[in-house]
């Protein structure tokens, strides 16, 4: 029995070994990989899909999928920038409104999936196209440059936080720990809390395991689906704001193919595409692996096209391992 427990714990955390091995390989080929600037850079890069991966984790846990998050990010970028630059709105108000809009798009996805009964892959594919189109329409296909951000690391948050909290002042290093990475950590903590401590998490796992039995156990499955797609919209919206703060320019072409990367992170982190199985810590590992893989490949001068091939392979292998272990369990 003890040996089994050890094996389960080992299997649950095997993904971290992959991460360590990956770091070791990149560090071996390029010592600069482990330099402070590069680590800071990676943490900045991963934060934006790390944040979105939390919503996607919930969605995949209930055996759904959300293909619209890339478009949500583009639209959030464009809307937020439009409100601030073209209409002179207050920054906070613009952020609030654009995140609310992202949540509403999530609710719309939930409505299509839960109330109408469109398969998630089609419903969210439709909204992917619709809202990408909206982003193009609103921006006229042109970038909206010069969005408030003087500071590359989510400046306004940083200044605001630095002025507010002594803890950041005393660390004095907040410039090194990017604010967006801090936001990501807070989001992961919140996601982990929802999954493990709140009853919503229990419901998500139940629905992913068996929707009908969940409904008959008293879970309002449709309501939960609305909630989950809305959460996915919310986290995508937040990721959009993070992206905007980094780029300083709203692009209607931003985050094309982004959902693909996030799904890869989540599935690599051990969340089963069949639903019902997965842990937040695994997703963190998945995000870090993909983030350092991208950064490592760039440092090794791997071409963008090769990177695509590698990422596709990673996705196939991750899903393959999941499906293969299920198959073996069955026999």
């Amino acid at each position: 029995m003890n040996e089994n427990k050890f094996m389960t714990v080992f299997k649950q955390n095997a993904i971290w070994l992959v991460f360590i091995a990956e770091i070791a390989i990149f560090a071996y080929f390029n010592p600069k990989f482990l330099s402070v600037p590069n680590i800071v850079n990676i943490s900045r890069q991963v934060s934006y899909y790390g944040i979105a991966s939390i919503g996607m984790t919930f969605v995949i846990l209930i055996a759904g999928i959300d293909l619209s998050i890339g478009s949500i990010i583009a639209l959030v970028n464009v809307v937020c920038a439009y409100l601030m630059m073209n209409m002179g709105w207050n920054m906070w108000l613009a952020i609030l409104v654009s995140i609310l809009m992202a949540i509403l798009i999530g609710v719309l996805n939930g409505w299509m999936v839960a109330s109408i009964g469109i398969p998630a892959i089609i419903a969210t594919f439709a909204s992917q196209t619709i809202f990408r189109g909206c982003a193009y329409l609103l921006s006229g296909g042109l970038p909206i440059p010069g969005v408030v951000l003087e500071h590359p690391t989510f400046g306004f948050f940083a200044r605001w936080a630095l002025n507010r909290w002594d803890i950041f002042k005393s660390m004095g290093q907040v410039g090194l720990i990017p604010i967006c990475a801090i936001i990501m950590v807070i989001c992961f903590a919140a996601g982990s809390f929802i999954l493990n401590k709140s009853y919503f998490g229990r419901y998500f796992y139940a629905i992913g395991g068996n929707e009908e039995a969940s409904e008959l156990s008293g879970i309002r499955v449709n309501k939960m689906k609305y909630l989950i797609y809305a959460l996915s919209g919310f986290f995508a919206g937040l990721a959009g704001i993070v992206l905007l703060s980094r780029s300083g320019s709203a692009q209607s072409t931003a985050a094309i193919g982004f959902e693909f990367e996030v799904i890869t992170c989540v599935v690599l982190g051990g969340v089963s595409v069949a639903g019902g199985i997965g842990r937040m810590s695994g997703v963190v590992a998945g995000v870090l692996i993909i983030g350092s893989l991208k950064s490592g490949m760039i440092m090794m001068n791997v071409s963008e096209y090769t990177q695509m091939v590698v990422q596709g392979l990673v996705l196939a292998v991750a899903v393959g391992i999941d499906c293969f272990s299920k198959k073996r369990q069955a026999s």
Binding site: M1, K197, G209, S214, S217, G218, G276
Partner: protein, 518 residues
């Protein structure tokens, strides 16, 4: 002369991580015999036959096959589906492997079609002729060109058997073949089985229904907890059968079973828990009945009579069209199971694995599922209370498990049913609807479920019990209502209980003497 064994399984063992499904099972099948294989649920019957088909790889043990009489003995440490087919082993599973959209003949030749001379086009005519030949051999009348989905369940099974015979199977393993069939279909299946035996085919027949085992088998092998227990020679003398049944049950359960239904103190109270007044909807018409506190109301009828449907309406899983449901004195109209649960109504569905238990969740999570919102503050679960609740019911109703964190899919059918019951007890239900409470549950666990039902009514819970097992219906109910085609056909008080009357009602006929009364 040594026995002519067509199939021998020697010391088969199968371990899964954390579970030993088969400890040590030995089985010898003689040429041309019918061997009954029995054991409680979870005894390892299914795993054993999956070892024969190649679906499961044994951890250790040997499989010996002698396809032809006097031929050489082949020895295997594992099978594959292909090896099984080559060596003449065919399995008829409970769920058929038919493709509904293809014809009977096409199903028989699935994966190995007869082609025309050009080697490309399927020769439908030749296949249909071959299929017709196979059906004729079995003395059954199926049109080979008919789509399988249009065939009755009994005929669908026949297509599978014919396929096995057409492939020259020498060993036919049948897993609960009678479970999906009607009484009439069971008879024709028996005929085919006996016909096959007379042709020298050897058959392993697995069934929960002991009377079938006695009717068909030459020998009976009993396994328990993954171990070989004993093999008996079947004595078909009707006088000795009751005695043999007792012996077999003892062997299967490993202890004495004195009574089938535990005694219950009279506990029916006067207060009505639920009353239906002329409820229409979900395929049912004009259903009216009352269930009192401490009463078991049995719902009898044939499959499709509308019993599950009325349960769904009460539980809020389907809407009603008209009529009133009065629960504890107030009219209610639950629009979703959640609403019904909050009133105190519970449903243990017929199909446990699909609708009842959350198989991929732990015992603890299953039990607390309906009460999570109540035991959470600002959505944070009171995890101490959650654990204590699960431990309490594990103790109270004796859920056999190493820990409350175990996944429900690893439990036996009886224990799964107990987990589902525990969930409703935790939700403090006043009316519990059991839909086929002991379907697919073995003899020993059945008795425990009955005892739990008794405990419930003695504590004043009202129970609505849907059952297709006549004995169970009569043995457990205080009153019985019989439905047919969505309508109420009659009500029987305890002193009127009689299998014939119930069957007459169930077939939609109101007996003469009752007509005037109503």
């Amino acid at each position: 002369m040594a026995d002519d064994y067509v199939l021998e399984l020697e010391h088969i063992r199968k371990e899964y991580p954390g579970v030993i499904a088969l400890k040590d099972v030995t089985l010898q099948l003689r040429r041309g015999e019918i061997l009954g294989l029995i054991g409680e649920n979870g005894a390892g019957k299914s795993t054993l036959i999956k070892c024969c088909s190649g679906a499961v790889i044994p951890t250790s043990g040997k499989i010996k096959i002698k396809k032809e009489a006097g031929g050489e003995v082949k020895e295997f440490s594992r099978m594959t589906p292909q090896l099984a087919a080559e060596n003449g082993i065919a399995i008829i599973y409970q769920e058929f492997n038919n493709v509904g959209e293809l014809s009977a003949a096409e199903n028989m030749f699935l994966g190995r079609p007869i082609l025309k001379k050009n080697g490309i086009v399927i020769d439908r005519k030749a296949m249909e002729a071959e299929a017709a030949k196979a059906f004729a051999q079995l003395d059954i009348n199926i049109n080979p060109g008919e789509l399988v989905k249009n065939l009755s369940v009994g005929y669908q099974q026949m297509v599978e058997i014919a396929k096995a015979i057409q492939q020259n199977a020498q060993v036919l393993i049948m897993d609960e073949p009678s479970a999906p069939l009607t009484t009439k279909e069971v008879e024709s299946m028996f005929k085919v089985v006996e016909l096959l035996k007379s042709r020298g085919v050897s058959i392993i027949y697995i069934s929960h229904r002991l009377e079938e085992i006695f009717r068909l088998s030459d020998r009976i092998e009993v396994i328990r907890d993954g171990e070989y227990v004993d093999t008996l020679i079947t004595d078909k003398d009707p006088a000795t059968i009751p005695h043999q049944v007792d012996d077999l049950i003892k062997l299967m359960v490993g202890r004495e079973m004195t009574q089938k239904y535990p005694p219950r103190k009279p506990c029916v109270r006067d207060d009505v828990v639920i009353e239906l007044q002329h409820v229409y909807g979900n395929g049912d018409e004009d259903i009216s009945f009352k269930v009192h506190a401490g009463e078991v109301l049995g719902l009898g009828g044939l499959v499709g009579a509308g019993r599950t449907e009325i349960a769904q309406v009460i539980f809020g899983a389907r809407p009603k069209d008209s009529g009133k449901i009065i629960f504890l004195g107030n009219e209610i109209n639950p629009k979703a199971p959640r609403a019904a649960i909050d009133y105190g109504i519970a449903l243990l569905p017929e199909d446990r694995k699909r609708h009842g238990a959350l198989l991929t969740n732990s015992i603890k999570n299953n039990i607390s599922m309906p009460i999570y919102e109540r035991i959470s503050k600002a959505s944070v679960i009171d995890s101490k209370f959650e654990k204590a609740t699960a431990e309490k019911y594990r103790e109270d109703i004796q859920i056999k498990c190493p820990s409350i964190h175990q996944l429900v899919k690893n439990l036996s059918g009886g224990n799964q049913q107990k987990v589902i019951l525990a969930k409703w007890l935790a939700a403090n239900s006043k009316l519990i609807i059991f839909d086929e409470p002991t379907r697919g549950i073995d003899v020993g666990a059945k008795y425990e479920i009955y005892k739990l039902i008794n405990d419930l009514v003695e504590n004043g819970v009202a129970i609505l019990m849907i059952s297709s097992e006549m004995e169970e219906l009569i043995g457990m109910s205080d009153r019985i209502i019989v439905l047919a085609e969505g309508k109420m056909m009659g009500e029987l008080q305890k002193d009127e209980f009689d299998a014939d009357t119930i069957l007459t009602y169930a077939s939609g006929i109101v007996p003469e003497n009752k007509k005037e009364a109503s």
